[in-house]
């Protein structure tokens, strides 16, 4: 039965058909599948499949990324409400766009993916001052600070990721948090993330989800 559901769900996601994806999920629950099984056996493998596809097909359609990430996030959110026990989250990320940058949509894809991968996401919104990234990461006990910047001057400027790194250093917090960045300027120059002091970056929103999850897992291993 589960194979049939996975196939139908993947088809709906491939067609970016949210209504169809929910129909598959609700039909599966009616047949007795648990919300936990739907998330772990259907939704998450589908995202992982999608991420793998992106590396094979880098020109994949951005509109489709938005829609698939949204479907994954919405289905997961609905399923989490139905979990028997509060789910164990992988970790927590504070995310926002750099000061001076109002482009909110890039981080939407990342957030959608992270939520579907059972990562807790704190959205700080757009035009976020560097101090606030650090303050919120501390207050919310996050592992990752994610700064999105879509323009060269916000990606490389003094009030973006660069300043977040500086504050982490000044306050002696560099061991506690990893800093990741994303956005168009980092795609043009694949080494730019290092020069602004970030620990990681990804070329697209879906891959960013995977990079962040891997990074959190790495941090947890180091801590053990």
């Amino acid at each position: 039965m589960i194979d049939k559901i996975i196939k139908a769900y993947n088809e709906a996601v491939f067609e970016t058909d949210k209504e169809a994806a929910f129909a598959v999920v609700y039909a599966a629950m009616a047949e007795g599948l648990s919300a936990e099984d739907i998330v772990f056996k259907v939704v998450i493998p589908a995202i992982e499949e999608m991420m793998a596809n992106i590396t094979r097909d880098p020109d994949a359609n951005l509109a489709q990324h938005f829609m698939t990430a949204q479907i994954a996030a919405e289905v997961t959110e609905k399923m989490l409400e139905k979990f028997q026990q509060p789910p164990e989250m992988i970790g927590r990320v504070v995310i926002g766009t750099a000061a001076g940058d109002l482009h909110s949509l890039g981080k939407r894809i990342v957030m959608g993916c992270l939520k579907a991968l059972m990562v807790d996401v704190v959205d700080l919104g757009v035009n976020v001052p560097p101090e606030r990234f650090v303050d919120e990461a501390l207050a919310r006990e996050a592992q990752i600070i994610a700064v999105s910047a879509m323009m060269v001057h916000t990606a490389t400027g003094e009030n973006g990721a660069r300043r977040v790194r500086q504050i982490l250093r000044e306050r002696g917090l560099e061991d506690r948090f990893r800093l990741v960045v994303g956005g168009a300027p980092y795609r043009f120059d694949n080494e730019l993330y290092q020069s602004v002091g970030a620990d990681g970056w990804a070329a697209d929103g879906l891959s960013a989800g995977k990079m962040i999850v891997d990074m959190i897992r790495g941090m947890k291993r180091e801590a053990v």
């Binding site: 491939f14 067609e15 970016t16 058909d17 020109d59 359609n61 951005l62 509109a63 489709q64 938005f66 829609m67 949204q70 001076g100 940058d101 109002l102 482009h103 909110s104 949509l105 939407r108 919104g125 757009v126 035009n127 323009m151 060269v152 001057h153």
Partner: protein, 544 residues
């Protein structure tokens, strides 16, 4: 190949190519050619006084020689079919040869059907009776030259904004101006030179006198988006790039009259730049509102000016709610493999031919000036996506049913410039979702839904060409009665002309600004969600 509704066709042979143009009864051949890249030489306003606009008639139904032609053309030339283009009028299809075209120019006349009727006259004026209205767009500059006393439009021009050498979009130009002072002055100089070039082109070709006439110009009114105004005036650009100011008024400053007078050779011109509303809402939107009389009817009147920076206004009966949205450039061809602005050779309409038995699906195009298709303008792209969707070649997700490969799906297998690629579809989806979500969010914030829209005025990139049903089918325009959707070409210029000709209308700009309230979509609740929900290629949901 089908074209517009007119039935008279003028075939023009020039050195490099031949084009076919649709002509309206009564229009002179010169007026027809002035709106194309094939201009005749000219040094008067089309009165037959200069005798420069010679063409050779090869055949067809035309008016007899006029007195002006008898006086300007020697008998042997008349016998050889030589005519003056300004005197030549078609009575049926005709064919001409352009032996001595004017040197190439980037300035063309705006087609008569895109212009608004003359709004007013100022018979009381005694001196400096001429005036210039300028719509300073990011991509195009539009200029109209007026006899204000008689309320008569003498000529218009449309040409590219030469600042494009610093970047197609507003932010790159602002960035350049902020980084280096000499870039700032170069950007300002480029725009100012372009405006005066357009005016000089009009004076040379449509009036016949340049410098003395420049001194007779009494007023120049310039509208544009805030960034263009700031770059023109070299003032306010630094405030613009800071998002904190996107919703607040930006002082683009009164022009430096002395410097501009000297540069323009217009010593008597009062230069007027109505103030923009906010960092991301320019005076061009105010001009649109004035031109469409948006606030003069019932509430629920919306206006969207699709351009490089798309601006939207909603009249709720008491206030003007204004915003701007990204997403316009795709409709001007930016980011579309074979995208282009609405110029000669642009596909502006696409339809599928009825499927004959056993025949493959084929498509029909209309191109501007009926030339071989060079690419798609905004309306052609919208049609193409709608037609491919209806034929099942495209799916609602934006994927092709059968992947067409990197070269894309060719609507005309013989012409690679009719191809639509996967990434074109993607760019189109994001553009239309952005604009639809912006309209919906503005409406929602005013407590209305699509059903409350009494008017939807579409201005900007599409001109008169957008197929409304197709735009609704792909989820760009909302699902309302198409009779409520109105298409306007060059509305900003029309509003600017009103300000030039009527001092009360000029005061209207201030009144509209005072009535307005701005919304920054990046901070608006619900915009992102709607954007994602509207990405699919299907009609927009009726509920917001």
């Amino acid at each position: 190949m089908p074209t517009g509704s007119s039935s008279i066709t003028l075939t023009v042979h020039a050195e490099s190519e031949s084009i076919r143009l649709q002509v309206r009864a009564g229009e002179s051949v010169r007026d027809v050619l002035d709106a194309t890249e094939h201009r005749v030489r000219a040094a008067c306003g089309g009165t037959g006084a200069c005798g420069a606009c010679v063409v050779r008639l090869l055949g067809g139904a035309v008016n007899p020689l006029t007195l002006a032609e008898y006086s300007k053309l020697p008998p042997e030339e008349r016998a050889a079919g030589v005519r003056l283009a300004c005197q030549l009028r078609l009575r049926g299809d005709a064919e001409i040869m352009l032996d001595h075209p004017a040197p190439p120019s980037c300035w063309m006349s705006i087609p008569a059907q895109d212009l608004a009727p003359a709004p007013a006259a100022r018979p009381g004026l005694t001196r400096h009776i001429y005036g210039v209205a300028v719509d300073l767009g990011t991509t195009h500059i539009r200029v109209a030259f007026w006899d204000r006393k008689q309320g008569k439009r003498i000529a218009t021009r449309r040409g590219p904004n030469p600042q494009a050498s610093f970047g197609a979009d507003v932010l790159n130009r602002l960035d350049a101006a902020l980084n280096r002072a000499e870039h700032a002055s170069e950007l300002a100089m480029l725009a100012r030179s372009a405006i005066v070039h357009a005016v000089r082109d009009i004076l040379a070709r449509d009036v016949g006198e340049v410098t003395p006439m420049l001194a007779e110009i009494g007023e120049v009114v310039v509208v544009g988006n805030t960034a263009m105004l700031a770059l023109l005036a070299e003032h306010g650009g630094d405030a613009l790039i800071d998002p904190a100011n996107w919703q607040t008024p930006i002082d683009c400053a009164a022009p430096l009259h002395d410097a501009w007078h000297a540069q323009w050779f217009m010593p008597n011109a009062r230069i007027v730049m109505p103030a923009p509303v906010a960092g991301f809402i320019g005076s061009d939107l105010l001009a649109d509102i004035v031109a469409t009389r948006l606030t003069e009817g019932p509430s629920g009147a919306m206006l969207i000016d699709v351009g490089t920076n798309t601006e939207i206004a909603l009249w709720d009966g008491a206030q003007l709610q204004l915003t701007s949205a990204p997403g316009g450039p795709a409709f001007e061809g930016v980011g579309i493999r074979h995208g282009m602005v609405a110029e000669t050779g642009a596909i502006f309409r696409v339809s599928a031919l009825p499927l004959a038995e056993s025949a493959a699906l084929s498509f029909q195009f209309a191109t501007i000036a009926d030339e071989a298709a060079r690419g798609f303008c905004g309306s052609g792209l919208t049609d193409a996506i709608a037609v491919l969707l209806r034929a099942g070649i495209l799916k609602q997700s934006g994927r092709f049913a059968v992947t067409p490969g990197p070269e894309g799906y060719c609507l005309d297998p013989e012409n690679p410039r009719t191809a639509i690629t996967s990434s074109d579809v993607d760019a189109f989806q994001r553009a239309k979702a952005s604009l639809a979500a912006a309209m919906a969010t503005l409406l929602h914030r005013a407590g209305m839904t699509w059903a409350d829209l009494t008017r939807l005025c579409i201005c900007g990139a599409f001109g008169h060409q957008l197929d409304i049903e197709n735009a609704q089918a792909v989820g760009f325009l909302p699902p309302i009665d198409p009779a409520r959707i109105e298409l306007f070409a060059d509305a900003s210029l029309a509003g600017c002309e009103r300000a030039l000709l009527d001092p009360e209308e000029a005061a209207l700009f201030d009144q509209k600004r005072a009535q307005s309230r701005t919304l920054n979509l990046s901070l608006a609740e619900g915009y992102d969600d709607r954007y994602i929900n509207y990405l699919r290629l299907r009609p927009l949901p009726t509920a917001l």
